[in-house]
């Protein structure tokens, strides 16, 4: 990967209970523009914590996250400004249930980027069309299926025109028949060269779409390589036994 550096993670640590539990134990990596980094690992390995530390939803105990050249772990930095450029998609969608789909998508651009309602609506409708949900613009989240909700959650984040998209197990709360439609949207995004960090259990997605796969265990990066190497030539025993279980 050659593109410019998007996120640089330096020795990231997250401890709980005063250091007794090490959710992240010194993680360093560099994410380049246009890369699709898929993070895999057994549950409790710290992969979600890692992702949530990238936009500081989780406050790291130590280390640095440098996003577009700015150390956002610095207390003086206004994290809210930088979060606008980092879209996030959650396992449980977290749509705003008291707003229509359209409002869900336009509220942040209107309030934070001072876009006019017309401008924000146009962008939202364009994105809705892309995921085939333009006819649901005035529905409420409760009226949608899980797969539809997650597709909306993705385009809601895209409405802020972020530089990078973070996905926290986006298909784990979905019924199996709805996983495909969400992955399809993510694949499209990857093809458009969106920088993505994806925590997932979908090994198929990792194989097909990832430019790089990180395997985490006990808060450490055990292997970090191309999907081909990870899935065809795993080096460590831990990755081998993990793959034996999930494939």
């Amino acid at each position: 990967m050659t593109g410019e550096v998007m996120i640089e993670v330096k020795n990231l640590e997250k401890y709980y209970n005063g250091g007794k539990i090490k959710a992240l134990d010194g993680i360093s990596t560099t994410i380049h523009k246009g890369e699709v980094v898929v993070v895999i690992g057994p549950s409790g390995s710290g992969k979600s914590t890692f992702l949530r530390c990238l936009n500081l939803l989780e406050e790291p105990t130590g280390g640095q996250v440098i996003f577009e050249g700015v150390d956002i772990t610095d207390e003086k930095v206004d994290i809210n400004v930088h979060r606008q450029k980092m879209g996030m998609v959650f396992q449980h969608f977290n749509l705003f249930p008291h707003m229509t789909i359209l409002k869900n998508m336009t509220i942040a651009p209107m309030k934070l980027q001072k876009k006019s309602e017309q401008e924000a609506t146009e962008l939202a409708m364009r994105l809705l069309k892309r995921v085939g949900l333009e006819d649901r613009a005035n529905a409420y989240p409760a009226q949608l299926s899980g797969g539809q909700k997650q597709r909306i959650a993705i385009v809601r984040a895209l409405c802020m025109q972020p530089e990078v998209m973070l996905f926290d197990e986006p298909t784990s709360a979905l019924d199996p028949e709805m996983v495909g439609e969400v992955l399809e949207v993510m694949k499209q995004l990857a093809q458009e060269n969106m920088t993505m960090v994806v925590v997932t259990h979908e090994m198929g997605f990792a194989k097909e779409v990832a430019s790089r796969v990180m395997f985490l265990d006990s808060g450490k990066v055990v292997e970090d390589a191309t999907p081909k190497e990870i899935f065809s030539h795993p080096k460590s025993d831990r990755l081998k036994s993990f793959l034996a279980k999930v494939l």
Binding site: N80, M88, N94, F96, H98, I107, A142, Q143, M160
Partner: protein, 264 residues
């Protein structure tokens, strides 16, 4: 029979003679109840005690609710902001939070009637009915504030943590996320509970009789003290409260249904 009793029964006989014949022929028990009704409501325009008292009760209740909501919102904001700050909160916030906690503990840990006695005989020492009403209203408001604060706080806490995370991940700050995302959802949990608080307050203001406030309950007591009509006067009193509470409950349920409808 003593002369007093004789005098009463003479008055009753006199009153009976002005009533329709079916009552004059009715059993003595029935006659008694009707005479008490007459004494409670009509004689000497006694119903004024109820209407005047009702005004005081309603004033105290509404005043207390307003004070309670203002205090409750303030405390809830302080407590939520303190609890949700990721880093160590600033000193001012920590002091405010400690004061709020102390206030909640004291108010919820002591009986209402004791708070009233302390406020009106130690702290404020009101003179006259107007000052008494003010003192009672403030005391009820201070008391209610503690409960309203908890209602609001639990309303906010009932909203899934993911909502806050989603708001923050889009780039909203804490205040904006509260305003656009959390509060509009929490309101639906808060308002019904606030309605119940209003009902509780309405009934609780009857305690103010101990400091001599001429509220609804005091009105009934005054009537009883002149006529000894305990049965009918106190049942009338209970009926008035009951009607008020039922009316409020009905209003609230209509309101709640409206809010549910706007959900979809």
């Amino acid at each position: 029979m003593s002369t007093v009793m004789l005098a009463i029964s003479e008055k009753m006989a006199q009153w009976l003679s002005t009533t329709p014949s079916w009552l004059q022929n009715a059993p003595e028990g029935i006659q008694n109840i009707f005479y008490q009704l007459y004494q409670t409501w009509i004689m000497n325009d006694n119903w004024h005690y109820f209407t005047d008292g009702l005004k005081v009760t309603i004033l105290a209740t509404l005043g207390a609710l307003v004070i309670g909501v203002v205090i409750g919102v303030l405390i809830a904001v302080i407590r939520s902001a303190h609890d949700s700050s990721r880093k160590k909160p600033p000193v001012a916030l920590r002091i405010l939070n400690a004061l709020s906690k102390l206030y909640l503990t004291v108010v919820r840990g002591t009986p209402m009637i004791v708070q009233l006695l302390i406020m009106c005989f130690v702290v404020m020492v009101p003179r006259g009915q107007e000052e008494l009403l003010r003192c009672a209203t403030i005391t009820f408001g201070l008391n209610s504030g503690a409960y309203v604060a908890e209602i609001i706080r639990s309303g906010i806490q009932s909203i899934d943590q993911g909502q806050m995370e989603a708001g923050r991940s889009l780039g909203f700050n804490y205040g904006q996320t509260m305003r656009y995302i959390i509060i509009p959802q929490a309101i639906k949990n808060i308002l019904p509970a606030l309605g119940n608080e209003l009902i509780t307050l309405l009934k609780e203001t009857s305690v103010a009789t101990v400091i001599g406030l001429n509220d609804l309950t005091k009105g009934a007591q005054i009537i009883v003290s002149t006529n000894y009509t305990t049965l009918v006067s106190y049942i009338s009193l209970a009926a008035i409260y009951l009607v008020l509470v039922l009316a409020l409950t009905k209003l609230l349920s209509i309101f709640e249904r409206r809010m549910k409808n706007s959900d979809r």
